[in-house]
């Protein structure tokens, strides 16, 4: 099978998953206790007129499957309506918040790879030596540390005590230097656990690959150790890391929810928490949909990258 056919096959498999994601998200409002209308308006008391308008807007009198399709159509055109709680346009709200989370998440992801991969290689090559033991402990500590705790401590030490960073984000555009500087601490907080995970994974993956027969063959051909490690072993050892890197995306969203709280970062995570506390379920529904779809697409891309790297999988 060529790469093209593989991509096509993956797309076909992804379609039902997307359907499931949208269906599940759609049903969220209906799973909430009480009548759907009540849930949407957050159990406030409203006039019958308002109630009727909400019924119409959310097509609540239609059969369920029709509701779903109508909702899906609206969602595809990014029409999420207005939040009955805040009165603001849901799509616009999410649109404002999304770039912030993407930036933070992306930076953390890159940091995790930039730190985790070299660390994993070093740990694998120097297995058993003090560098490896140290790395192993550091990685375990990185995984075990609750990211909100780490964030709080970093915030306390560097922002409160030492005063090197601000405590809340500056009033500057996302792409500015001031914002980038502020982003350093939250990025470290968010990326540490991922970096630790990648280090551990790559180390064990490389240790395993180093036992493989083709490594002995490569050495028997007279290749330098550096070539053996970086050309032959790494390429194979990275494969599980690629898979995990995809899973890490979901993990990072989770982390962002918490980290944004700590650093008052204006992203999707903070929106989600605030909406839950405000019982703003329309926003939650839209946000969860966006997150779900984004992750499915991202995982699809990861699958494709994996197929590029590993010729065996295309069959």
């Amino acid at each position: 099978m060529t790469l093209g056919r593989y991509v096509w096959t993956r797309l076909l498999v992804t379609a039902p998953v997307l359907f499931g994601v949208t269906a599940l998200t759609f049903s969220f409002v209906h799973l909430l206790p009480g009548d759907a209308v009540d849930a949407i308006i957050g159990f406030q008391d409203v006039s019958p007129a308002v109630e009727a308008s909400i019924r119409a807007e959310y097509h609540l009198d239609q059969p369920v499957w029709k509701q779903y399709l109508l909702w899906l159509g609206d969602a595809a055109t990014l029409e999420f309506g207005e939040s009955p709680i805040t009165g603001r346009d849901v799509a616009a709200t999410i649109g404002r918040r999304l770039p912030a989370t993407l930036t933070l998440g992306g930076a953390a992801w890159l940091l995790a790879l930039a730190v985790g991969i070299p660390a994993g290689i070093v740990a694998a090559v120097r297995a058993g030596e003090p560098a490896d033991e140290l790395g192993r402990i550091a990685a375990l500590a990185g995984i075990a540390t609750p990211n909100f705790w780490l964030g709080l401590i970093l915030l306390f030490v560097f922002s409160v005590r030492l005063g090197w960073f601000r405590v809340i984000p500056p009033d500057a555009p996302l792409a500015s230097l001031a914002m980038a500087k502020f982003m350093l601490l939250p990025t470290i907080t968010l990326g540490t656990a991922s970096a630790a995970l990648i280090t551990r994974l790559l180390r064990s993956s490389m240790r395993q690959e180093l036992e493989a027969a083709y490594v002995r063959t490569a050495r028997a051909k007279g290749l330098s150790e550096r070539t053996v490690i970086l050309k032959h072993v790494l390429r194979n050892a990275l494969l599980p890391v690629v898979t995990v890197a995809g899973l890490q995306l979901a993990f990072l969203v989770d982390g962002a929810v918490v980290v944004e709280q700590i650093f008052s970062w204006p992203g999707m995570g903070r929106l989600l928490v605030r909406s839950i506390l405000r019982r703003d379920y329309t926003v939650i529904q839209a946000a969860v949909l966006v997150i779900g779809v984004a992750i499915v697409i991202a995982n699809l891309l990861v699958d494709i990258v994996y197929a590029i790297l590993d010729p065996r999988i295309r069959y």
């Binding site: 998953v17 599940l24 075990a144 609750p146 915030l155 036992e211 989770d254 918490v258 939650i284």
Partner: protein, 374 residues
């Protein structure tokens, strides 16, 4: 190369007399067994060696037990894993003995556990000055309501450990059977379950839990936050085990002992229970152990965000949510101790999980040795 003339006939060269000599020697040995030991320094009988005999005559129920014993012995030798286990045991003991445990009905109150390691009632307010840093009277300090932090941390362990263990156990109860069924039967059952898993996988753990909490909250039987959180975490947690176990079952299913069992007419559910699952379950055990840590972190995150348990409960994550405002005011002690407790527990769990992984994985050792000694 030599220039022989190979003949088309087979078996040109034959050795005669060797097997007779072997037979003679064996007969002679059997006679001389009592009085002559010189030659019998090694195994004579061609079917077994002393080392192998015990393994061959072992009955099947013994083998899994011996494997567990081997695994336990290997685990014991791993110092970091034992250290982790020790930490967990200590924390569990502290959690249990922190405050008295009482079970009461209308008439009778049974005290299951009378000890109280915590110096103060964790919810008692103003037992000391508010926001006091650590001191002799309050080794972990007090919070904004004057509650003793040490007591709260000790009691908080109950929530944390409880949520971690129960949520993972529930998730296993759902995930393992589903994964086994999906892997074993294949076909549309497999497809259906795996699609469901894929869909749930698209949502991050925490986000899903956040979405589930308001759905579960009003259900009265769940009483307060504990079971809500547990269920939310169990519902999100089972998918990992299902997928992992399915993968393992897919490979175990092809093994010959499974085919043999089925050929003997053993019913499917017995095959799954006795042959497939025990051999597939090792990675899941490791994953479950490590997941206790993840679950604890997620539960703490939920607490930190203010979801889940009642406000003011001594759950470590919830305690940390107070931390932010205090930190900015320069008070570090409210943040450090609960966070440290979470960190220690998760670190210990990870060490134990790693230890289990090393202990249950004999494959690596055996194939290495065999390869090298050839």
């Amino acid at each position: 190369m030599s220039d022989r003339h190979p003949t088309t006939q087979r078996g040109r060269i034959r050795i005669v007399g060797f097997d007779d000599a072997v037979a003679d020697q064996q007969a002679g040995d059997r006679e001389n067994d009592d009085d002559d030991d010189t030659i019998a320094t090694g195994p004579i009988d061609s079917s077994t060696t002393p080392g192998e005999t015990t393994t061959e005559t072992e009955s099947e129920p013994d083998r899994p037990r011996r494997r567990l014993e081997d695994a336990w012995r290997r685990f014991r030798r791993n110092r970091t894993a034992m250290a982790g286990l020790g930490v967990i045991v200590v924390m569990a003991v502290l959690a249990v003995f922190a405050r008295p445990i009482e079970v009461s009905t209308a008439e009778v109150t049974i005290t299951l556990q009378p000890f109280s390691l915590a110096p103060y009632d964790p919810s008692a307010m103003f037992v000391g000055p508010a926001n006091a840093p650590p001191s002799r009277a309050h080794p972990f300090g007090t919070d904004w309501a004057g509650r003793d932090q040490l007591s709260r941390v000790l009691v908080g362990g109950r929530y944390t450990l409880g949520i971690g263990l129960v949520a993972v156990a529930l998730a296993l109860c759902v995930g393992v059977p589903l994964g086994a069924i999906a892997g074993y039967f294949g076909g549309w059952i497999d497809e259906a379950i795996m699609r469901l898993v894929d869909v749930l996988y698209a949502f991050p753990f925490l986000v899903l839990a956040i979405a589930i909490v308001p759905i579960l909250e009003p259900i009265p039987v769940l009483g307060g936050g504990f079971w809500t959180v547990v269920l939310a975490l169990a519902v999100t947690g089972w998918i990992g085990y299902a997928r992992l176990l399915r993968g393992e079952v897919l490979s175990v299913r092809e093994r010959e002992y499974v085919t043999a069992a089925r050929a003997l007419g053993v019913p499917d559910r017995t095959v799954i229970r006795r042959h497939v699952v025990p051999n597939a379950v090792a990675p899941v055990v490791v994953q479950a152990t490590l997941n206790v840590g993840t679950v604890v972190l997620t539960a703490a995150a939920l607490g930190f965000l203010g979801l889940g348990l009642e406000p003011g409960s001594a759950e470590w994550g919830a305690m940390l949510s107070q931390g932010r405002s205090s930190l900015v005011q320069g008070r570090w002690h409210i943040t450090v101790f609960p966070g440290l407790a979470i960190f220690l527990f998760v670190l210990a769990i990870n060490l134990v999980g790693d230890g289990i992984n090393d202990a249950l994985d004999p494959h690596r050792d055996v194939s290495d040795e065999r390869r090298r000694l050839r």
